[in-house]
Symmetry: C2
Subunit: 221 residues, 2 copies
């Protein structure tokens, strides 16, 4: 099969840059692993959707897990870059407040859902799903990408909340990570009884306000 395959495997009236097999595999892997989790997604499901031969996974990546690792690294890179840029900027201007830090950490993750179209939502769901996969081995793929910048944010939050115990700030911090992952994976809708939640466009503001209140007033001294 020639490399010239229209994006998404379907003809469209505007010819878009052709994805390589490797890129199609990564794109579909993100989508399917996000939807079904690692164990609930087979290589055959991925390769069929990517219009690729099943052996292509082993050729380009080495194994199923290596495909996942590559997808996680690719997905996390821009989010971590943006978090790092914003933290550098904040720290250059003085000691950031808890709200500034929470915002700088949360917004890059939620922008995926809210501002990057369908692809952004796919990436966000993928990241949220892998961050809390049942298997520690899989979660470690996420941790490897995120721990350095996350440790910096935790340290900065501690400085921003001098009246709270360091362990309490750490407690708040992992709650923030957990909630962010759940929102990224769009796992928190609908509410019990099917009641609508808030306007999705305001998710970032609502989550940030929720977290800021919890950090400012809900951590022990």
């Amino acid at each position: 099969m020639p490399a010239r395959v229209v994006a998404g495997g379907k003809e469209n009236s505007v010819e878009t840059p052709v994805e390589s097999t490797r890129e199609r595999l990564l794109n579909v892997a993100e989508q399917r692993f996000g939807e079904g989790g690692y164990e609930g997604t087979s290589l055959r499901a991925i390769t069929v959707a990517a219009a690729a031969n099943i052996a292509a996974v082993n050729y380009h990546f080495g194994s199923k897990e290596a495909l996942l690792r590559a997808a996680v690294a690719r997905a996390m890179a821009p989010v971590n870059t943006e978090r790092r840029r914003r933290l550098d900027q904040l720290e250059a201007a003085g000691t950031p407040s808890a709200e500034q830090l929470i915002r700088a950490f949360v917004e890059p993750g939620l922008d995926l859902v809210l501002r990057r179209g369908e692809r952004g939502a796919v990436v966000a769901r993928f990241i949220g799903r892998i961050a809390f996969d049942p298997s520690q081995r899989i979660r470690e793929l996420y941790v490897a990408e995120s721990d350095p910048i996350e440790a910096r944010y935790l340290a900065a939050l501690r400085l921003a909340l001098p009246h709270s115990a360091p362990e309490a700030v750490a407690f708040g911090y992992v709650n923030m990570l957990g909630l962010l992952a759940l929102h990224q994976s769009q796992a928190l809708t609908p509410a019990p009884g099917g009641v609508e939640l808030e306007d999705p466009g305001k998710l970032a503001e609502n989550l940030i306000a929720f977290l800021v209140a919890a950090f400012d007033r809900g951590l022990r001294a």
Copy 2:
């Protein structure tokens, strides 16, 4: 094989009441589904650990999914009973505050981890895991058990927070569900960089304080 099998499949010096095959399957299913998720857990892994024949699953439950359904119903029953009892009690005494409602909802779930020994922690992890399984079909097994009492709690929270928009209270509520599930499944430790969190014995108090602050001050009007 006779029915007289010591608990846990190992000899011990004190003979405990003999579990039936059905009970051993449910106990091991809770543990293994909690650790690995539904798709990451095979029937053979469960039946080997339960010292049972693989056909016993189909005989007692009908299918792998039916085994899971039975385990979820069994695990949720006491938690929901306690939540219902506490809500009835609160409403009999007047209009409960947000803190009282959060406490009445969260404590039964966390008591599993904190006060019911190893078995309680296994059940908590199981519930937390299934509540946010990637597959909607699996999550619905949890929803079927919990939606009625959860809908009552949401309604009561709205009464307790008259200055917050109803959708905002619903937003807070699903965040509470998500955080509770993460803590039950013990998915939020350790913190980035391996920093220790709070004293596990204080998890309930810490989580409740965190949530109360978020509900009281972090929801939009």
